[in-house]
Amino acid sequence: MREITFGEAACEAISEEMEKDERIFYMGEDVGRFGGSYGTTKGLFEKFGEERIKDTPMSEAAIVGFALGAAITGMRPIAEIMFCDLLCLAMDQIVNQVAKVRYMFGGKVKVPLVIRVPFGGLRRAAAQHSQHLEAWFLHTPGLKIVTPSTPYDVKGLLKSAIRDDNPVIFFEHILLFQKKGYVPEKEYTIPIGKADVKKEGKDITLISYSLMLQRCLSVAQNLEKEGIDVEVIDLRSLFPLDMETIINSVKKTGKVVICHQACLRGGVGAEIAAQIQEKAFDFLDAPIKRIAARDVPVPFSPVLEDFVVPTEKRIEEEIKKMLY
């Protein structure tokens, strides 16, 4: 069973797709010979050259805008924004243009565009380098949002994103890049929009994605030993959101905890909680609990950041509170 890192799996996905389809190209800051600030494009420049792996100026709005222009005129760009906080500089192009052109034009154009965005706090990088802004895009009709948590998932989902004729914003947690895991040699894809039950259980439903999914999983494994049977759902994509898988689990367990690294207020957990209580009201034995970063900018000092971001300890405690 081949084990490679999350970062390698992502690059493999891009490389395989680029070999098959010459309309695909990649653009972003330091993605060329440097291989991407976080190793997002390791080895791709050597393979495809500067024509298809393009270093751009520091111009985030232009990166997305140029990619959009190329996408609606016959190319299939992958535009990288170096990290999530920088999306703030490209919001007009992403929200007012990319997400809306197809609809505004009456469905008369396709937008095969992937916006690839590393994110992730817990790197002691402070308030402007640690944000998780995926909830904004949940509130932006016209975008698909993908948030893989394992090497296997990132490869299969990134391939689907690249093949999608709709704009996809693809978030990868920087602290997952070095994580190793099983990734088959042979071709496969994972459909965008299906959640994945990473661990089955009957006592409580634990919903998460990206790095926090890993924390939830290890909490669930620990609790197993104490005889607590947690079902862990990896959303994989936030839109389309697989409510069916969620609701089925809730009907089974009656208890729900949602966990994400983005701050609590107005986060993805709010939408999921609102939908669960709407669709499975009578199955809930207790209030849905959201565990998320506390509602402050992400502080620098490790002591402070570790207090702000959900820890395994906090997740475990909240689960136990709900069960006893």
Partner: protein, 328 residues
């Protein structure tokens, strides 16, 4: 001057008249309360769109603005489908979803009007990139106003287009105002063309009410772009004869006088100027040109008729067209 064949001149004149009459009709229908929404008229600026776009091929690209009707008509947009869109009808270019500020027709290279000022700059840059990567010689033209030239994206877009030597042309329609704000009051340079030097590309400043001058300069820029020699910036000094939007009314007087507008009408109307030229040079007779104008009147009436008779979309259709192969 270098010779432009009659057929071309006629096409240019006809397009300018088509734009003018389309806009006059839009104004009339808006005032009557028939057309909903926001509309920004191109009246007075016809020479810019027609002068520039007459240098383009059908497969070249343009990115338009909130004041986009003129660009669309010049690029070959169908006034029937445009009018139907302004009515919010299902037969419109965008099935009624877009309205005045979002009309597009990719098949003839119209990448869309745009409600966000200057936002088409990088999109057009991307189309130029795509043309180059596909080894085509298509050219892409971005239109934006004097106000747009102060948006950050202007800087990012021109820098990147220059760095990548893309077949892009940036046309600044300097009509001296951004809504009520005089260009000189908020712009650090007198001529926007001067900013070309920041991107190491040619910058031109032309009389945007003289369609032939615009044409000549644009032709040079287009040739350059097609040859792979990179982008250009063309500033067309022009004037908005009507309020910023239909219905601005008296508010207009807070930033410009009736006399100023009157003076421009008298001295600078691009259509009158071009018509006089065509007649003076004995290229076409007055009566011939007036027949053309009548033809256009008919087109516009037919467009209105088409729009009037078209059905509205069904409410539920609002939920369609968001994703390719729908997603709920």
């Amino acid at each position: 001057m270098e010779n432009i064949e009659e057929e071309k001149l006629l096409d240019m004149y006809k397009k300018m008249v088509r734009i003018r009459k389309f806009e006059e009709k839009v104004e009339e229908l808006h005032i009557k309360g028939i057309l909903p929404g926001l509309k920004h008229l191109y009246i007075g600026e016809e020479a810019v769109a027609v002068g520039v776009i007459s240098c383009l091929r059908k497969d070249d690209y343009i990115g338009s603005t909130h004041r986009g009707h003129g660009h669309l008509i010049a690029k070959g947009g169908d006034v029937k489908l445009m009018m139907a869109e302004l009515y919010g009808k299902k037969t419109g270019y965008c099935k009624g979803k877009g309205g005045s500020m979002h009309i597009a027709d990719i098949n003839i290279g119209i990448l869309g009007a745009n409600g966000i000022v200057a936002a088409n700059i990088p999109i057009v840059g991307g189309a130029a990139l795509s043309s180059k990567m596909r080894k085509k010689d298509q050219v892409a033209v971005s239109f934006f106003g004097d106000g747009g030239a102060n948006e950050g994206i202007f800087h990012e877009g021109l820098n990147l287009a220059s760095v990548w030597k893309l077949p892009a042309i940036f046309v600044c329609e300097n009509n001296f105002y951004a809504i009520s704000t005089p260009q000189e009051k908020v712009t650090s340079v007198e001529s926007i063309a001067k900013r070309a030097s920041s991107y190491n590309i040619p910058g031109y400043s032309v009389d945007g009410t003289d369609v032939l001058e615009v044409y000549r300069v644009a032709k040079e820029a287009v040739a350059r772009a097609r040859k792979g020699e990179g982008p250009s910036l063309i500033e067309c000094k022009t004037y908005r004869f009507k309020g910023h939007y239909v219905g601005e009314g008296q508010r207009e007087l807070s930033y410009r006088s009736r006399d100023e507008v009157k003076r421009y009408w008298e001295e600078k109307c691009p259509i009158k100027k071009f018509k006089n030229y065509l007649i003076k040079e004995n290229i076409f007779t007055q009566s011939f040109l007036e027949d053309i104008e009548k033809e256009v009147d008919k087109e516009i009436d037919e467009a209105v008729k088409f729009a009037e008779e078209s059905p509205y979309p069904l409410p539920e259709e609002a939920l369609e067209d968001l994703f390719f192969e729908g997603v709920k």
